[in-house]
Each structure stands twice: as structure tokens, then as C-alpha cells.
Subunit: 236 residues, 2 copies
DNA sequence: CTTGACAGGTGTACGGCGTACACCTACCGT
DNA sequence: ACGGTAGGTGTACGCCGTACACCTGTCAAG
């Protein structure tokens, strides 16, 4: 229908389309190659055209973040608070894994898009309705830190670089070159420790999902214990 | 001595001097205003001069990170592992607080300067000598994540923006504007919860140091419990 | 049917960035 | 005396974000 050959007239550009293209670009090519010029080209449009729909690059990034945060499943199961929180956080994690650039982007912002605030608020609500005091809930949010948004926060982050065009993006830097292992013997020791009896692990060795849940449960169990023994700020 | 007036000939530039100036600049003006051109000017030198001492900006950043990590006190007290780790991490935290740009810089790097590896290795060594299995030590390192480097990782990060020239850098955004509080009632509730009986807190209300130690102890206590009950990877 | 406002895409230009590359110059060991 | 070399300089390129003036198609009011 319509659309003669003369002027190809792409679908007419809109904030929505810009955001989706930007996210797709960041997902596949890495956040560092998301420039206004790049993005415009992807949309078949001149760079300045974007500014009719977003204020500037920072606002664009904020909007992208909000869209990712919006992917987090916050449907509330009526189990106990611990399971509810656990589920929410694991959902957050999977959203952030679909968009590896998002974690760093969120941290770089001084803070708090409305979507993030809304999500945090819902988490706090769950804690409170689970019987935690406002005080304890406060400390818990700090303790969870960005983990509540699903950040693996690993330091040795395997995902981060993301991108690559091909489907196989090099499985891993492969264990550890021996001269490095020699200089850091204890790291070398534990690097191989966890993969010993587990078949699901292929690369240099650790199951990110397991590690994430290990830490998460460590925190959740500790929190539950505090709650059960009626924690108050009797410290300091 | 020497140094006539004709050519002011600043102290002759060196990798050391570049690094120190770069760190000072990042500390006081913020990492985003550390450019090669800026830094060169600060040193009274033309930008390209820097490249005789550092390979490029990335290498410069890595070296800056290494210098900050080098500030972490790793002297080993012969108390138990838990106290040793605790002390190390709190020292890391104070180093990172002196250089607010460092946390983000470290996370942006795909990973691991030698100094960081060395530090991590020493932490693992302490865990192992405290009797933790290699396996458990591995998971513990993941669970601690970047907290082992003293990251507050707060999400609502009060420090980050850093810089400012004057001594008073605005104490805090002041609690929460009421229309925001209305939209996020649970956040509003806990935002004020923790400051109730504590005089040491002035701003909008939380004692970062306390929160950090709260989370740290939650993790350490949980780990100790696992160790005491002889944890093995009997999960999954 | 004319008109004029306005939303949305365009073109040009500016200042800043990292850094490649050719150069110059002062010093040093032979 | 001299050639090499370490270290500072100058110019230039291609990228970035974006200010600002401009054009063009659409549509409502006269």
C-alpha cells in the first residue's frame, strides 16, 4: 500500500522507534558504539533528526534504562516475602543479562529514573508486608545494593564486552595463562575449584547463575535470621 | 638551584608525575573532565608529550587504578580470618572513598590489572589459611563481588559526583521532594527510618559507613556459618 | 482555495576529544 | 666531534555531541 519507489520514506521515526533501535544497537554492538550519528544512520536519518524526539544523549540513555527496567517481572506471587524477593531479583538479573550495557549505564547515572524508583518501591513494599521493620528494610536495601537490580557485579565480569556479530563470541579467555597462575597461586587454586564435579560448565569454569544465587541466598538467609530474632538497631 | 628565568622549565615530566597529577585531577574535578589535553595543560606541556610516557588513555586509567589499589593496606594482623578480611575490605573502602572515580573506572575495565589480581590473591590466601575449602573460597569471592574492593555499590550513591571546588559540596539532595514521596510511599518510609535515633547523621539520612559494615557483616557471618557446618557443594 | 502555523527532517558548523606522524632539540657515550 | 636517542612540539585527521538556521509537507482556519 502507498509508498512508491521514488522516495523510500522509512517508517516515520518516533521516540519509541528510536529507543528500540538504540537498545538493539547497544545490545549487539556494545554501548560504546552507540553514538547519535551511528544511531541516526541505523534509522536512515540525519543525526539532528533525533533531537526532535529526545532532548540529548543523556536523556536517551535514561529512557533506554527505563525500558530495560520495565522488562523486570514484578507480578507478585503470594508466597512468602523471601521467595517473592528472590523471584523479582532473578527476573531483574535476566533482564540485565539481555542488555549487558545496562548495568554500567545505570551505575554511571547519578541515579534514579522513575522506573527504577518504582521497582525499588515495589521491592520495599514486599519486604514490609513480609513483616520487616522499616528500619530493617532500609538496611536490607543497602545491603543488597545494586544486586537488587540483578547486577552480577562480579569484578571478573564475563559478559560485559557483549556484541560480536557472529553467534559464537569466544567462550572464555580459557582458564589462566600459566605464568599468571604462578604469580597468583591462590587465585589459580580457586579458579579451578568449582568446576570439578559439575558437567554443566564448559569454559574456564564457573556457573554465573549458581554464583549469583549463592550470594543472593547468603544475603536472604542472613536477613531472614535477623528478622526472626527481632532485629533492632541495637548496634553502634 | 639552576633554572634561570628565561625558560621556566617545569619539573621534567615522568610517568610518576603524570599519574599523580591525573589522579589529583580526577579527584578534584571528576573523572569526566580528565582528558589528555586537560591533563597536559595541568602539567604545562603539550598533549602529545604524555604519549612518551603512557601508551594511551586506557593504559593511563589502568595505571591510575593500580595506584589506588596500591593504597589498600594489606598488612596482615594475626587475628582470625574474619577480622583480617574485614579490616582489608574496610581499608579498601577508605581508599576508594578518597578516589570516588575509581569504582566506576574499575568496573568499566573488562578486568584485572596486576595490582587488583595481587590484592584478590591476598584475600583468597587469607580465606584459605582460615580453613575455608578452595571451593567455598571461590563462591565467597563471587558473593563478595566488588564489595571486596570496597565498593559501596549503592545505587543511591551519595559520593559519585565528587569534585566541586568549594569545601562545602551540598550536604545532600535533602530528603525527598513531597510529590516524589507520594509516588513511592515505601521508599519514603524507609528513607527516614534509619536516622531516627542516631545523632551522627545530618543530611537526608543514612550513615554510609554503617550500611557498608551492616552488609559486610551479614555476608561474613553467613560465610562463617557455612564454614562451621562444613559446607560442600551439595547444592544443585 | 489560500494561507500560515507548526511538526519534523536537513545541512552546516563549532568546539572538544584521542592520537598518528613528522619534526626538532638537547644530551650522552664514544 | 658526532651520531643516537629520549623526550617535548605542531599539525592534522576522524570521531563525538549538539546549536542554529533552514526547508518541507500537513492541516486547520479564513
Amino acid at each position: 500500500m502507498a509508498e512508491q519507489a521514488g522516495t523510500p520514506r522509512r517508517t516515520p521515526l518516533s521516540r519509541e522507534r528510536i529507543l528500540r533501535t538504540a537498545i538493539a544497537l547497544a545490545d549487539t554492538a556494545g554501548i560504546e558504539s552507540l553514538s547519535m550519528r551511528n544511531l541516526a544512520q541505523e534509522l536512515g536519518v540525519v543525526p539532528m533528526a533525533l533531537y526532535k524526539h529526545v532532548a540529548n544523549k543523556d536523556e536517551l540513555l535514561d529512557a533506554m534504562i527505563d525500558m530495560v527496567v520495565g522488562e523486570i517481572d514484578t507480578s507478585i506471587p503470594d508466597t512468602d516475602w523471601k521467595q517473592a524477593i528472590r523471584g523479582r531479583i532473578l527476573s531483574a538479573r535476566s533482564a540485565l543479562q539481555r542488555h549487558p550495557w545496562a548495568a554500567l549505564a545505570i551505575e554511571s547515572r547519578n541515579m534514579a529514573t522513575p522506573a527504577i524508583l518504582g521497582y525499588l518501591d515495589s521491592v520495599v513494599a514486599t519486604l514490609r508486608s513480609g513483616g520487616l521493620s522499616a528500619d530493617l528494610a532500609h538496611h536490607v536495601m543497602h545491603a543488597m545494593g545494586s544486586r537488587v537490580l540483578g547486577f552480577s557485579q562480579e569484578l571478573f565480569d564475563t559478559a560485559r564486552d557483549a556484541g560480536r556479530s557472529g553467534p559464537a563470541a569466544a567462550p572464555q579467555p580459557a582458564a589462566m595463562p600459566p605464568e599468571v597462575a604462578a604469580r597468583f597461586p591462590h587465585l589459580a587454586e580457586i579458579a579451578t575449584a568449582a568446576s570439578h564435579d559439575d558437567a554443566s560448565v564448559v569454559g574456564s569454569g564457573c556457573d554465573d547463575q549458581f554464583e549469583f544465587e549463592f550470594a543472593l541466598d547468603l544475603l536472604l538467609d542472613g536477613i531472614e535470621r535477623l528478622q526472626q530474632q527481632g532485629w533492632t538497631s541495637a548496634h553502634r
